[in-house]
Symmetry: C2
Subunit: 224 residues, 2 copies
Amino acid sequence: MQIHTITPRPQHSVAPFASQAPAQSTFDLMGALMPYKRNAEIYGDGEPAEYLYKVVSGAVRTYKVLADGRRQVGAFYLPGDVFGLEIGGEHAFSAEAISDARLQVVKRSAFEAAAARDGSISRHLWDATAADLRRAQERLLSLIRTAEERVVAFLLEMAGRTSSGNQVDLPMSRQDIADYLGLTIETVSRTLTQLVASALIELQSSRRVILRNRAQLSRIGTAA
Amino acid sequence: MQIHTITPRPQHSVAPFASQAPAQSTFDLMGALMPYKRNAEIYGDGEPAEYLYKVVSGAVRTYKVLADGRRQVGAFYLPGDVFGLEIGGEHAFSAEAISDARLQVVKRSAFEAAAARDGSISRHLWDATAADLRRAQERLLSLIRTAEERVVAFLLEMAGRTSSGNQVDLPMSRQDIADYLGLTIETVSRTLTQLVASALIELQSSRRVILRNRAQLSRIGTAA
DNA sequence: CGACCATTTGATATGGATCAAGCGATGTGG
DNA sequence: CCACATCGCTTGATCCATATCAAATGGTCG
C-alpha cells in the first residue's frame, strides 16, 4: 500500500456527522493522521491489508472494477467510520478519497496486539464489521427494488448516517451513487428530478438535498 | 412429525451460503438433534435469537417478505452449514426447511458462555461475521449483473458448495432460486433453457444439473 | 386415472440502459 | 474581468432485457 505524502489542504466543509466508530481512543493514541487528496488511492484491490483507517474528515469510497469494466462501489465511509477491516490477508476492494480527506491510519498488527490485551477493542472491531454487514444486508434487499426505491433508500441511509436533520449533503458524485446502487447516472438524476417534482425532496444544489416528506420517503424506501 | 414445539430463533447470517463456522465440536457436544418437515418454519423474522443451528441433513432457506409482498431469499444452508450467527437480539430473516431436514440446535447462551471461556471461539465468531460480510459483498456484485450471469454464478456457487464433480442437485425450487437472485421464476427457467441450448449445462431433471463446460461457465459467472 | 403443483414456453409490456445533446457551475488564461 | 474550456449534471429519444400475463406440459402422489 502506498501512503501518499501530500500536503494537507483545507477541506471543504462537510456537515456534522455522527461518529459511530469503534475505539476512538485507541485510534487517537496509535494513529498517524494522513492527508489524502480528492481521488487519491488509499489502497488497491488485492493488496495486503496492513492498515486500518478511520475517517477524520472528508469521505471515502471502496469499489471494485469488474472484468467488463463496470464499477461497483462497495461502501461510502464518512467521518467517524472505520474501514479496512477485511479479514483474510488482502483487500477485496480498492479505496479512494472522494473529497480531500484526513484519515487516521493504524498498523493492523499493532491494533490487533492491543485488541488481544483489551477485549473491548476487539468488541469494537467486531461492531464495525457488523455495521458493514448490516448495511450490506440492507443493500441486498434494496437492490432487487426499483430505481426510485433504491435512490430513496440511499438518501435515507445517508440522512441516518449524517444526522443533520432533514438536510443531506452528499460528498459523492452522481456517478458514485449510480455505481453504488447498480443504476446509471442518468437514472439517478432523473429519479431525483422526479422526487423533486413530487415535492418529496428539494435540491438546494446538486449535492445538497432537503428531505421534505420523510414519512412518505420512508414508505417508499423501506423494504420490510 | 414436525417439531416446532420450540421456535428457536437464531439470527440468520447474510451469507449466500453457509458460514463455515465456529467450533464444530461444540455443536456436537451441546446440540439437540431436531427434525423439521418440508416448509416448516424454523424461526420467524423478528423473533428473539435464542439458538444457533447446524444443518445435519436436508436444506434450509432464510428469507424476508417485503412490504409489497415480494420475497427475498437471504441464504441457502446445506449439510454442515451453521446459521443463526447474526448479531443483534432478534432475527432479521425467517428460516424454513426447504426439504425435510435434521438440525442440530444449540442454545445461544450456552454457546456464548463457552466463547467467554475460550477466546478462540469468539475469534471464530468474528471470523464468521467477516466471512459473511465478504460473501454479502460478493453477492452485491452479482446482483448488478444480467440474468444469465446471476444464474451461472448461482450454479457455480452450488457446485462449489456440494462438490460432487459436475453434477449439481438443487434442493430448492425455481421460485426459491428466483427470489434468491432477484429474478422471476420465468426468467430463471428460460435462462436455464438457454444454457442447455448452448450446451453449457444439461438438465437431467429440473432439479439435477450437469455442468458441461465449466471453463465457459466460469467466464460468464465470474464478476471480478 | 385424476388432481395438483412445479416448470416450461409463448406473447406483450415496461423500466431502466443506451445514445445523444444541452445546461450550469467552476476555474483558467489572456 | 471576461471568454472559453471543462466537468458534473440534467434532459430527451430510442432500444432492449426482464417483468408480466397467459397457457401448455410434465411430474408426483393419492
